[in-house]
Symmetry: C2
Subunit: 345 residues, 2 copies
Amino acid sequence: MGITIKDVAKAANVAPSTVSRVIADHSRISENTKKRVRKAMKDLGYHPNVNARNLANKSTQALGIVMKSSTDKALQNPFFSEVLRGISSIAHQEEHSLFISTGETQDEIYESVERMVFGNQVDGIILLYSQVNDQVTDFLLEKEFPFVLIGKPYNQIDSITHVDNDNVTASIDITNHLIEQGHERIAFIGGDTDLVVTLDRMRGYELALEKAGLPIKDEYHIHEEFLKSGGRDAVHQLFQLDQPPTGLVIVDDLMSIGVMTMLEELGYQVPQDVSIVSFNNVYISEISRPPLTTVDVNIHGLGCQAAKCVIEKVNNVDEPAKRIIVPFDIKKRQSTRETKRASSP
Amino acid sequence: MGITIKDVAKAANVAPSTVSRVIADHSRISENTKKRVRKAMKDLGYHPNVNARNLANKSTQALGIVMKSSTDKALQNPFFSEVLRGISSIAHQEEHSLFISTGETQDEIYESVERMVFGNQVDGIILLYSQVNDQVTDFLLEKEFPFVLIGKPYNQIDSITHVDNDNVTASIDITNHLIEQGHERIAFIGGDTDLVVTLDRMRGYELALEKAGLPIKDEYHIHEEFLKSGGRDAVHQLFQLDQPPTGLVIVDDLMSIGVMTMLEELGYQVPQDVSIVSFNNVYISEISRPPLTTVDVNIHGLGCQAAKCVIEKVNNVDEPAKRIIVPFDIKKRQSTRETKRASSP
DNA sequence: TTGAAAGCGCTAACAA
DNA sequence: TTGTTAGCGCTTTCAA
């Protein structure tokens, strides 16, 4: 159908290989012929056939993006678009295409990754999640396929290049923010416990409490999927305790908003009756009522770094596994407030 | 590197072409050899090289997805993930891969589409937006490249296959919901006026007012980008009018939430002082306070239909341009309430 | 029903 | 500096 390299060669009166070299901007080509060839390409409207090139090169200039199966859709959404924007900007800059995993279930996604890898569709892969016992991760490791993970690997941490925040410290810091404001009964609301990010944030929360000499109570941990029907009851229970919490650390902004709605139904006001801090700083956290005090994890930055890292790995197979920590920043807004210290008379 | 068709052929003691036929599940192959070849493929762990296949076939089993440059990021986000889920489920089912446009600016995205088309990277394209005077649309039309558009084309409506809601009717219906509740001063808050969806929804709003004999006032139209700094002032102005509105039709759920926050700052309560209806029914609209009365446009369904349509178009070049209307559904929640009719004494 | 061989469009080693 | 040529892995016509 299209114009091939041969057509260009003919028009410019050179060999196809010369055209190929001009495309690759090879050094040993005279400026003169370069010019002639370029003109011919333009005149004919030539565009290289990516498949042919990939076949000959054994390299596609493409990256695969694998997202978690979106059962817990609400939790993933805003994060996803934002991280994709980051990846996309670097990918474009480096002239790489983006391939996305398809499928709804875990198995379908796995299949889709297999196709990417075995079919030589991509040179490297970015995993947008980190999960306990993930078959996709295992597969990529076993195949020694270049990939990076956004988040912290559950195991083999030293052999997997990953881009993450220091979620433990972030969680300590934001929990401390509550503690500094006098809160002593602080509960933690997490998401999927299969996600490493949930575990890290919980860890930070516990460390902060411990350091402050506050008790860590089981009743103060909730891990259900909030955004579904169960959430309401769990929150309800939490506030039925003899000693209901006055502060809440919630792992995700969207969850925070859901919780705030439930709290209002139960007759609690944020921040008057209960303070909330959370994570991610997705757009909605600025316009919620009240605007959320949250950890800005720089989602866009995570995406950019991840893209840079895979490309590096692809270009150099021996690139050692590394760990990139993207700095976080705490955004103090209006979802928290000072509380009287119960213990200080 | 990998196992090729030749290796399989050797192992199964047949010619490469036979293997190829087995892969394609050709009819004129004896069950016996089929079995033998399949076993060999499994034993060797064979996976076809997609690039080679694409090259020989002049067809990639891939679809391109083009999203709007995300300057107005807040508006696009939740919609995007959801529509992608829809597309992705069909794509997987039909064994197609998904390619995503890269780049941040309009021009970068255009480049990226050119690469997809000229580079034979995809068989068809789905445009996730419909915009006035869009260069990408023009390009695809000119190249006669198979594509479908989600939304309503700005022009050439009969020659562009598109998947849309009946936004005019949806807007009439939801505006009527306010009118039925006694609202007479109803304002409209739209987004980017370059987006056809904004225009359609505005049209429906106006038609509904007209039908009800209510005046259409210029002061009741706002089209700035709310989610940025300007929004606050615009909303402020609206409620400084001698006759401030009691009802608001807002084109997007996320915008609605932003507006509710501003209203609260100005001392207005939703729905006590002002009722709000909006569009899309993204997840957040259920958990906002109050939950939003909104048009469920079935974002997932839009994605599914779009994917089906491109695949049809790809498989049959002569497939006529068609228009698929995905039904909407009004979700009545708590952001609206009856108001006293000012005019009825 | 199967095999041999040409070719998809491009790259890269080898020659010139 | 440039041309010739042999593949990359697969599909498909033509022949057997």
